[in-house]
């Protein structure tokens, strides 16, 4: 790749630059900052859409009365039960149980705090979900 070919396109880098190695006019490698590349944007959006989709699915489940708010907060932290288990020290099966609205509502304060800490939220946030549509990732 030549210096002039380093992509400078709109991207998710949000003003940051990525260091690329490219050839200068003398054919020597130099570091060139890239503000973004369409290709990166496409594959990054694909991954982020997946996160957003998981959030929407969780919210739908909660509104249908099938899932507890824990499902939403797990989705927005991009966690599955295995990862939340690693963070909280709570067994996966128990987490699956707490994804149901009833058992979640009856959670003792201590356990709720453990979930909140693992998800980096306050206990109050953990109990609530946003009202409208959620487009943002966090």
């Amino acid at each position: 790749m030549k210096k002039a070919d380093v992509p400078q396109e709109e991207s998710m880098l949000d003003g940051h630059q990525r260091a690329c190695y490219a050839l200068d006019e003398q054919g020597r490698y130099v570091v060139v900052g890239s503000i973004g590349w369409e290709v990166e944007k496409v594959v990054n959006s694909q991954a982020n859409d997946e996160v957003r989709q998981a959030i929407v699915t969780a919210l739908d489940g909660i509104r249908a009365g099938k899932l507890s708010p824990l499902a939403y907060h797990m989705a927005r932290r991009q966690m599955d039960t295995a990862m939340l288990s690693a963070y909280s020290g709570i067994a996966r099966l128990r987490i699956r149980w707490h994804l149901r609205p009833g058992p979640f509502a009856r959670l003792p304060e201590a356990l709720l705090r453990r979930y909140a800490e693992a998800l980096h939220l306050s206990a109050g946030e953990l109990r609530s979900v946003p009202a409208g549509d959620v487009h943002a990732r966090l």
Binding site: D14, Q17, V31, G33, V39, V42, V43, A86
Partner: protein, 331 residues
Amino acid sequence: MRDFEHQHAAHCESGTVAALLRHQGLNLSEPMVFGIGGGLFFLHLSFVKMGGIPLTSYRDAPRVIIKNMERRLGVRWRQHRYRNTESAMRSLDGFLATGRPVGLQTGIYWLSYFPIDMRFHFNGHNIVAFGRQGEDYLVSDPVLETAVTCLAGDLRRARFAKGPFAPHGLAYYPEHVPADPDLKAAARDAIRQTARRMTGIPVPFFGVRGIRSLASKLERWPEKLGPEQARKWVSSVVRMQEEIGTGGAGFRFMYAAFLQEAAELLKTPALGEAARDLTATGDRWRDFAVQGAQLVKNNRDDSGAYAKLATILRECADREQEIFTRLKSAV
């Protein structure tokens, strides 16, 4: 102790190691660290899944660059892991108080100085902490253009991220850096080993064999997984190649830069030719990324596109096999 100097790098591990060594007076470029560190590789493990997607990597295992600095240059590292956040942060504060920058392994998800769309759970991200600013920390993240301030809470969580590659607070710094290491021998040894690993592992997961096996697997993805899932898997390969900080073309350009430097160091023109050929192969890898992204974006069935992608992969495998075979006898 002198002031820590931030330098923009393509990759977190080679950038962190280069920065720590430079601070101790050993000034090596990032490609040199990456090359001597034996960073370049390829692997595709269809039976190891991360988030349901098979593992593809364009480089060797995390921390291999750090280890090879010890083996090839005689750098002696001190490494600390911790039981809990409090002792890890206290220990870090102690290092910083004596003016010692330290490398930290972190989970990128918790580092809020990154744009939100860049934050995924990946626990092998290396950064340098080099000072305090009130409660918070001065951090040199090699993949950013400038040094940043990292919130204390972010750093605490990032150092104790959980899941695959959990860092357990890992902090490291060079305890001894040789003033005048034998770079020539190190570069020769590194090139030989990378060439062997790229061409000589007799299982179809690693090196050029791994690239070929990805080609034949990828061709069957649409029928095996359905169009949507197949696109998602292609997308993840392209991300591993371009999005995670490789300097372009899955580290191929950075390695070519290393070969270019090594050609001068060892006065071996054959390495310069290999650098040129690897650059051309890198350009093909970029074509693979462009066409892969098109497939992801178009969002419609196109089985011809998968065959085209596989053809590019096979071409890259053939070229890399030829280059690395040549390199074995060139050094």
